[in-house]
Amino acid sequence: MLKLRLPLTLLVGAAVIVGGCRRHAVAPPPQEIQALLVKELPTDPTDSVWRQTRELRIPLLLQDLVEPRLLQPSTSYVAVRALYDGRRFAFRLEWEDATENADPGIATFSDACAVQLPQKVEAVLPAPQMGEKGHPVEITLWKAVWKKGPLLEKGIQAVYPNAAVDHYPFQAASLVPGATAQQEMALRYSPARRLGNDVASVPEKGAQDIMAEGPGTITPLQKNSQAQAVRTAQGWAVVIVRDPPAGFSPDSGTHVAFAIWDGAHQETGSRKMRSAWVPLHIVQN
């Protein structure tokens, strides 16, 4: 298995190169992400420092390894730039997406992206699709819908502005707003929030950290990754700042994979466009 997989990922990488060559007769594009070493990491996608970095256009593949699969291709590539300050990475993902899908709702889906790294540097790369048992991956997630802020606190009018609701038990006049009893009552009527399910809240720093050992095994992580996004003329530009894998050394580099969800195509969970593992190395000016 392992033997098989490594070459496989290389093969995929190779395919990229070939494809790239066909498109541009000019200087061969990099086959790897070159993370430029800088003093400090910007979180703003429009920061000028990004211009010093080299962009790698990474083609995206349908996630069709596990059900439910994505059968209709949507986003074709993601253009990635990276920075490294000796401690953390900053990735700048840019991709085309004609429609902005940032509205919460019963049947709306959010545009989103994710950066995936191995949890720790190891000889064997985890499976590119969410890792595998014993070979965990860490994923940092950004969702467009988060910009709406904490929905549960804002209430249903944040989603449906004309909604009219007479009463919530936790808003009864006989309860003191903010008092423990009142807060407990409110929590009681939002099971997911009460259970601390991270999807029920908006991450403070705009990014959510999770780990996985294969499909269906996502587990929240308490990390300090950050994300910031801007809507561009063609789509999205998102900066994700996060730690490298455990035991990462600048000389040896690591691998990174990406995923993009297009809300307009109702992409969510495993229905997504993903990349293969892409090598990453640190470079200096």
């Binding site: 596990v66 439910p68 929905l151 249903i156 997911a192 399910n197 029920a200 495993s270």
Partner: protein, 375 residues
């Protein structure tokens, strides 16, 4: 995919997971001839379980008028259209289930409603099939008709929501077969919303998780029937435990109605989920329409019901519905009384076939006063 047996189809079928039946399956019988669409069930559920934020539109229990009512809009016709006409032969289903009809890359044949499909939750209320032009007179079955269809999660033996969840956040409780969606683990992919043909899983736009009927398991654990049963003033509902046909027990009210008398039928059995809510079909509705919803045994069920006037067991048992909050595992008839009893034989409740009449003397000597019906 595994091969499992579905007795409602009279055959095996493919399913995402291997067959594994709970120790006991909590189930229900609804008598549609008694349903008055008062929506007490809907409110009982709503005020108990979905009074929170982001749940405003959710009706884990709803009552719709057939044929024009549907919540969410077109929940069943949309899928029937995708599946196409199917055939039953001699009680056996020859067609495809939604598992067998699943397209490549999918575990289940399904669709996801638009948010506006959840608006107008009681559209079609009292709208009839057929058209009243002027005066008319109707006998059974009615040429102009509608009926009320109360719906909750069917806590299926082969749940589509469970099969579709890539996260494995939906499971079936081994002790009672209740299907639950783990609010701590769900990531709001809505694969279950798409897969459930009854559209009884709902997405909460404020918490980002999907939520569904829990068959009031906290009450079941205390031996009590669910909220939508206890508050049912039409007295159409009975909750209990259903056996597989071969081990049916006539003393068990659910088994008696479903397996012994075959008067209560599953909703859209052809989809292959082996749903565990059983409906006594409305006697005034054309059989052909009902067979679409309740399968090939509608005709017999209606005949059995129409004969209940000479059938004190059946009539009596149906009158036991709603007479107690307790789950009634066993029952029996003693002359003109119907008894609900515990497994161990202790009596829970007894009701008469006919309510007693009391007559009082015109003049009450004890209190020196006349008693009038027209005081």
């Amino acid at each position: 995919m595994a091969i499992v047996y579905n007795w409602q189809l009279g055959r095996t079928m493919s399913y995402w997971y291997p067959e594994s039946r709970p120790q006991r399956q909590y189930a229900a019988v609804f008598d549609l001839n008694k349903c008055i669409a008062c929506q007490s069930c809907t409110l009982a559920c709503k005020t108990t379980w979905t009074s929170g934020k982001g749940q405003e539109y959710m009706l884990w229990n709803n009552v719709e008028t057939k044929p024009y009512g549907s919540y969410p809009l077109a929940w069943e016709t949309k899928l029937l259209e995708m599946l196409g006409p199917q055939t039953w032969q001699d009680g056996k289903y020859l067609g495809r289930t939604i598992f067998e009809a699943a397209p490549a890359g999918e575990r289940v044949l399904g669709w996801r409603p638009d948010d506006y499909d959840y608006a107008f939750p009681n559209t079609g209320e009292d709208d009839c099939a057929g058209h009243v032009e002027r005066g008319l007179a109707l006998d059974l079955p009615h040429a102009v008709w509608f009926f009320y269809l109360p719906r909750i999660c069917n806590h299926c033996t082969y749940p589509a929501c469970l099969a579709a969840c890539p996260r494995g956040s939906i499971y079936k409780r081994p002790e009672d077969g209740i299907v639950l969606l783990d609010q701590g683990r769900c990531r709001g992919y809505r694969e279950c919303v798409k897969a459930c043909p009854y559209k009884k899983v709902f997405f909460n736009p404020l918490t980002g998780t999907s939520e569904k009927c829990i068959f009031c398991f906290p009450k079941r654990e205390q031996g009590l029937q669910p909220q939508c049963f206890v508050n049912c003033i039409g007295k159409i509902r009975l909750a209990g435990y259903i056996s597989v046909p071969e081990s049916a027990n006539p003393d068990n009210p659910i088994d008696y109605l479903v397996h012994v008398r075959k008067v209560a039928l599953p909703l859209l059995p052809q989809l292959g989920l082996e749903p565990n809510v059983y409906y006594i079909p409305p006697v005034h509705v054309p059989v052909r329409f009902l067979e679409q919803l309740f399968g090939p045994h509608v005709q017999n069920a209606i005949q059995t019901y129409l004969n209940a006037k000479d059938d004190p067991d059946l009539a009596g048992l149906i009158q036991l519905f709603g007479c107690t909050e307790k789950i009634v595992p066993r029952w029996k008839r003693q002359n003109d009384w119907i008894l609900g009893i515990e497994e161990d034989g202790t009596e829970i409740v007894r009701v008469p076939l006919r309510e007693p009449v009391f007559e009082r003397p015109l003049f009450d000597e004890r209190f020196q006063v006349a008693r009038h019906n027209c005081p």
